[in-house]
Symmetry: C2
Subunit: 120 residues, 2 copies
Amino acid sequence: MGRYQKHIFICTNERPENHPKGCCSRKGSENLKSLFKDELKAQGMLSIVRPNAAGCLDACEHGAVVVIYPEAVWYGHVKESDVSEIIKEHIIGGKAVERLKIADPKYTSGSLIEPVTIKK
Amino acid sequence: MGRYQKHIFICTNERPENHPKGCCSRKGSENLKSLFKDELKAQGMLSIVRPNAAGCLDACEHGAVVVIYPEAVWYGHVKESDVSEIIKEHIIGGKAVERLKIADPKYTSGSLIEPVTIKK
């Protein structure tokens, strides 16, 4: 399954304050990354699920943006209060959090989500 | 197939000059990212294949590191002269560049590589 069972990329790109595109960094994405890290660590999953900073994912209008591989599920307007749900439902449960998925069909992946396998 | 047929993450993490782990940035990864972008653009593939900066991918000893999703193929010690080969063989041809794959089996993914589909 590769180095990580899930690789969570969180856009932390930063643009100047009045840039028309905005940026994920000014929508709290650095905190999102920290929260993912803290929660995954607390649940003993950091060795199999990696939260990773990413440069611009070119989905600026949907920021803060998170994409999870290998299934290529894109989440938009992600808030700190959403992190626990993404971990519980998507990472552990294998079900996308539908209300957070970017609705534009070009972001839709048909790939199955495999729930993580945690060795006891 | 999701927003991108291939999503190429290039670690551009930078550490202080004498840090024992080293870093991909000081091994030329910013240039790698630019080269991927230039070559993919020249071949008309930037809308379906995205080269993306990434924070530390935690494979520092193999830097400069590149991971390609959705297939989770990890390449190490990637040099500017390798970019064309990765695009030709992996992205277009659907075959991993074996000599560049990180040999440590924990990085090995069993996933199939789908060659990109370029609409004419």
